[in-house]
Symmetry: C2
Amino acid sequence: MIATDINPALKPAEFLLGTWRGEGEGQYPTIRPFRYREEIRFSHNGKPFLIYAQRTEAIETGQPMHREAGYLRLVGDGRVEFVIAQPIGYAEISLGRVDGHRIDVECTSVARTPTAKPVTSISRSLWLDGDTLRYELKMALEGVPLARHLVASFSRVD
Amino acid sequence: MIATDINPALKPAEFLLGTWRGEGEGQYPTIRPFRYREEIRFSHNGKPFLIYAQRTEAIETGQPMHREAGYLRLVGDGRVEFVIAQPIGYAEISLGRVDGHRIDVECTSVARTPTAKPVTSISRSLWLDGDTLRYELKMALEGVPLARHLVASFSRVD
C-alpha cells in the first residue's frame, strides 16, 4: 500500500491510527459477565475519515465473538460522526466530539434488520490514557435502558 | 488465519467468497459518467454471515474513490439481510433474496449523519455470470427517484 498523507481534518483523531490489541470485560443486566480478546484497527486513505474495524474472540478458545466495521468522520470544530455496521443486523449513526485524546459519541439513528437483536442505542467513549487505548460502551435494548456493557484496554501493536 | 469451516447457512452465498477485482461504470442523472477500478472481498469466520468490504479507485491515478463495509446475513429460506456502512455518512439495511447465483436486495432502512449526502435508497443486484461476478446498483437521492448508478464486473483473484 502506498503511504498517503493524512488528511488535515483527521489530525484531532490521529492518536487512534494503528492496530491495537487488548482485552475487555462485558456485562449487562441480562447476561453473565464475560471477558474477551480484541483487535481494533484505525487506518486512513487520505480522506477526512478513519477506517474502523474491530473483532473480538473468546480468550480460552479463540472463537470469534463480535465484530464491526465503519468510518469515523471528522467534520470540523471537533465534531465527529461514527457510521458502524454490525453483523447482528444493526447499523448505527453516532455523533459526538473529539476533545484532546478522547472521543465521546452517542447514537442518534439506528437501522435494524427484521431478525436483529433489539438494540436501540449505544454510547461509546474512546480515549488514550498514556500509551493505553481504552473504551467504554453502554447499550440500550428494548426494555433495558442504557447500561454499561463493555470496557476494554489496548496496546498499539502496529 | 486458521481455516474455519463455512457455516451451513452460508452455502447459498458461497459463490461470493473470495477477493474480486474489476472495473465499473458510474452514471447518474446529476453527474457525468465515470469509470473506476474496484476490489471486493467476501470472507467469513464460521458464523452465518459474509464479511463484506470493497473499495474503488480512479483508473488513471489510483486515487481512492468510494469504499464501504458490512455484513451479508443469511437468515434462512433464501432470505438475506445486508448491513452496510459508508464513509459518506450513510448506513443502510437492505433486504432481499439469494436465488441460485444471484442476490437482489433493496434498502428498507437508512441512517444518515447530519452532513451526509441525501441518499434515500439503494437497490443492489449481484450475480455470478460464468466466472464473472457482476453487480448493478441503483440509487435514489432526495428529489431524484431510484436511477441506475453503477455497473461493474469482476474476476476472482483469491
